[in-house]
Symmetry: C2
Subunit: 353 residues, 2 copies
DNA sequence: CTGAAAGCGCTTACAG
DNA sequence: CTGAAAGCGCTTACAG
């Protein structure tokens, strides 16, 4: 029994023919390309078919149930045990909703504090999982050991330097470039990138920060990278406090681009505590797009990571790997675009002035 | 009429049930997950279904014919007018074979020497193409203009810094890291990366070259980047000739990693002309994996780019975008893994010694 | 492009 | 898990 169907009635080509006002056979011909149909009718039929969800249903039917159980391995430190780690929480929620929607059972791994390939493989076997989603980790040894097992493995929100498994991640480099370019377009020249020594995905955001300067042929020294001790708001505060003390002020910087909303929230607090007006004295932009940023004062301009789409791609790539793609098909890396959410802390966009 | 079907007879679940030795209904239950089936039987059925090509057929059927005509835009300079530009030639061949296989008409753009968005859009409209594949180009203005049109656009073998369209490319950064790491693992420490000031995809290979050093905590200054005037073999020869003259020899370098097979072929010629033995005095590794590398003396160790898989992904992503994914779904960037082909010029692998 | 009709391939419910 | 059987949804060939 499938639990969750968005619509009670099943949609068939009959519904499409009625809705689009064409013959049943015409719908079939459009969908299969079995007869030459005018561009106009064809467009109308496809539009209706998509709108009614028929295309999605048909594609879903095409992808056979190669994945019935998904085994989920998350490094314990990233489990959403505190309410600050909202990215993890939102991403894992999206993933389990996607599985529920597709009727896939999802089983969480529980093992040693440090993830361990043998444990994960044994755990997945024990529940007859065909696929494993590894989240946030990018220990090459672990990845290679998992890849060697007879399982489909996908790394979500991480980077596999050895490309031994498929990967799904936000376009970190692009997203950081997007935010930096947006600030540059508003006339900011000295931008401080506040980040931490995190995993390589976080380092890609540093790359993107530099890309934006390079693209405008601006000396990369105009921008500076400031490392906080970690991604907690307090660590952002600490880092900025030290920075302001050392430089005796903002040292000409007019914007702070933070590698995570968490850091941006800390930055907002610290800069305001020091008497700076945001965005007037200094603009602040975050990265992630999780809920709290909408509630800060001022509200946080940030780069939104498409968490729902990431979850959907993760399941999709696992099913593909298990069905059509064999083990010999090269590993793939999928990056999804991010979007700039303009709120108050970044100032008013040059384009909307 | 569809032209090309790999097998004459259509494969159905009846064939699978016979081949796997199970009941017809069992096959159906396995494929749809409509009844609990033992892991063993389930595995056997799926294995047979994949082997007979049923899974692929079913998935193909699921993906409705949203793409009937593909419009292909290639910057004229990249058209395979000379026999050296084999990467272009092989990639475009793979793309048209993939289209033929799927019954998609492919129409090549012919316009101004410089690609121009208005012309491409008009050309695509004129032949009623639903999708456009833009190859090798990454002019942001052009990409943005194309993205604004009512067409599905995919950039093949390029990088879109603005992520306004979907992208399919080899994992350049990873591939370069792979080759460099392979050389480091053999004990090479001073590696020369021979490249040219090409598009950003070529620059990613430089990034990967540095990644390999960083990963081993080796100073990046051990490796050096040498820019040739272009990617022709003669330009590689020229660059190496100048290098050897300036440094009065190989200056301690024991390996050359070239950003393209074309350059590697030039490097082989020049280094041998100067009396160096390959791989004994200096190892040479290429990138691309096109045919001529197998025929050089010594044969070329190189990184193979999965051109067939790139072509298949290109068509796949266009169909996805046109059917299930809407215009609001974030743009995606797909990178496919590359593989090191060990031949003679790189020396014997440490692992196989 | 329509519309009625034949037919195919798969799904599904059920007794064993 | 099997096997026979009913039935559903889509495809396809054809006259208009």
């Amino acid at each position: 029994m499938t639990l969750d169907r968005r619509s009670e009635r099943k949609i068939g080509i009959k519904d499409i023919s009625r809705e689009a006002g064409v013959a049943l056979s015409t719908v079939s011909h459009v969908l299969n390309g079995t007869a030459p149909i005018s561009q106009e009718v064809r467009g109308r039929v496809l539009e209706v078919a998509r709108r009614l969800g028929y295309l999605a249903k048909r594609q879903q039917k095409g992808a056979i149930a190669s994945l019935t159980t998904l085994y989920l391995a998350v490094p314990p430190g990233n489990l959403p045990h505190n309410d600050i780690n909202l990215v993890s929480w939102t991403l894992l929620t999206a993933l389990s909703r996607e599985c529920e929607r597709r009727g896939i059972r999802i089983v969480a791994h529980a093992g040693s504090p440090e993830l361990n390939a043998a444990e994960i493989i044994a755990g997945a076997r024990a529940v007859s999982a065909e696929g494993v989603a590894l989240v946030f980790d990018d220990n090459p040894k672990l990845l290679r050991a998992l890849a060697a097992a007879d399982l489909a493995v996908v790394l979500l929100n991480g980077e596999d330097p050895t490309m031994s498994v498929d990967t799904v991640a936000p376009a970190n480099r692009y997203g950081a470039r997007l935010a930096t370019e947006w600030l540059l377009a508003q006339g900011h020249r000295r931008i401080l990138h506040l980040t931490w020594q995190g995993r390589s995905t976080i380092m890609r955001r540093v790359d993107g920060f530099h890309d934006a300067y390079a693209e405008r042929d601006l000396p990369r020294e105009l921008g500076e990278v400031l490392y906080a001790g970690g991604y907690e708001p307090d660590q952002a505060r600490q880092a900025l406090r030290n920075f302001v003390t050392e430089r005796g002020g903002l040292d000409g910087f007019t914007a702070v681009f933070c590698a995570a909303d968490n850091l941006a929230i800390g930055a907002l607090m610290e800069l305001q505590a020091q008497g700076f007006a945001i965005p007037k004295d200094i603009a602040v932009v975050g990265f992630d797009g999780v809920a709290p940023g909408a509630l800060t004062v001022p509200s946080l301009t940030t780069v939104r990571v498409p968490l729902d789409a990431l979850a959907a791609s993760t399941v999709q790539i696992l099913e593909n790997r298990l069905s059509v793609l064999g083990t010999d098909h090269p590993a793939c890396r999928i990056e999804l675009g991010c979007q700039l959410i303009e709120r108050e802390s970044g100032g008013i966009s040059a384009s909307s002035r």
